[in-house]
Symmetry: C2
Subunit: 196 residues, 2 copies
């Protein structure tokens, strides 16, 4: 019997392709085996189980996304860097919905914590924020707010929560501009709000 040339990398890559095509939740060992023209048990030599496969897809996507963001941000600073970061983030999520969904599900915290890809996201965020001259803990706080806003926006957008007739892209651009204003005036914004 001719061999299919499976490797962990090729299986993970195919799973990512499948996720973008049919949705991350529909990535099954059976469907993946079919896409290779191979029987299901054959995949278990390359990935431990379905959970392992999904984690690998998530790490692959996080790494790819970090690459795109890094390329977009390179050579820019301030509002240019912020806009490049934000648009690279959203573009990746919209063009790779299955891979992006993989990064959304809750994985083993140990795997996430040990992953260089996720660490790069934090680093990229902090590098992009450098022009705003924030210091800790402002840097962490602002970074968390930014990533939350980006992540939340594309999630709500792809889940069809934004139903108003107002253009989704126009709202996005306005939101990014607003976040830029917020970062430039972060110290003024630090006055604690009532009984928060």
């Amino acid at each position: 019997m001719a061999r299919a040339g499976l490797t962990t990398e090729r299986v993970t890559e195919a799973a990512a392709e499948l996720a973008d095509a049919v949705g991350f939740e529909n990535v099954t060992v059976a469907a993946l085996a079919r896409s290779f023209g191979v029987k299901e048990p054959s995949l278990y030599s390359h990935v431990k189980n379905l959970k392992d496969l999904r984690e690998r897809v998530a790490l692959l996507a996080a790494g790819e996304m970090a690459d795109r963001i890094a390329a977009a941000v390179a050579g820019r600073s301030g509002v240019d860097a912020l806009a490049a970061f934000a648009n690279a983030y959203r573009d990746y999520a919209l063009t790779h919905p299955g891979r992006y969904a993989a990064t959304q599900v809750r994985h083993d915290p140990a795997v996430v914590a040990a992953s260089p890809a996720f660490a790069r996201h934090v680093e990229l965020t902090h590098a992009m924020l450098r022009a705003y001259r924030l210091e800790e803990p402002d840097l962490t706080d602002a970074g968390r707010l930014l990533r939350s806003s980006f992540h939340g926006y594309v999630t709500l957008e792809t889940n069809g929560v934004f139903t108003h007739t107002r253009e989704i892209r126009a709202s996005w651009e306005r939101g990014v501009a607003a976040l830029h204003f917020l970062l430039e005036n972060w110290s003024a914004a630090s006055v604690r709000a009532g009984n928060v």
Copy 2:
């Protein structure tokens, strides 16, 4: 054979309980039947299928969440209303992780669009924003940014993405204060950012 007294409502409620206990993705017809002490096919008289069940849990959760937020915001305005909204949102998500996860997954857009629960979220957001005297399209843009930030924050928090030693709650409060500042200065923030 004694009857178990199943109804669509009781089944949905039990599924929500189960989701909070074991995670939304682990809510199965089989596990739900076990929790009632009945056989699996018995549930199909009350819910159409698994997808239907999950949508019902999502709508239940969205409604409960809207109730909590409405109660928290009642009688408040401005920064008090914003903080009450934000904290009610986050508290619900953290205390009911399974139900909140149900609202995150992509459901049938027709079901979501026709749901009063999701419409109430938009209304509550707009009501809370009233004190900031925004007009369309600013109202929609600001509302989307707010909901994105809240949703993104609790999602990243529950998924264990925030690993820095900085307190997650402190960052949250700071983020809410920053959003308040942003809303108060929304028109100043409207200057379009470079090549966004």
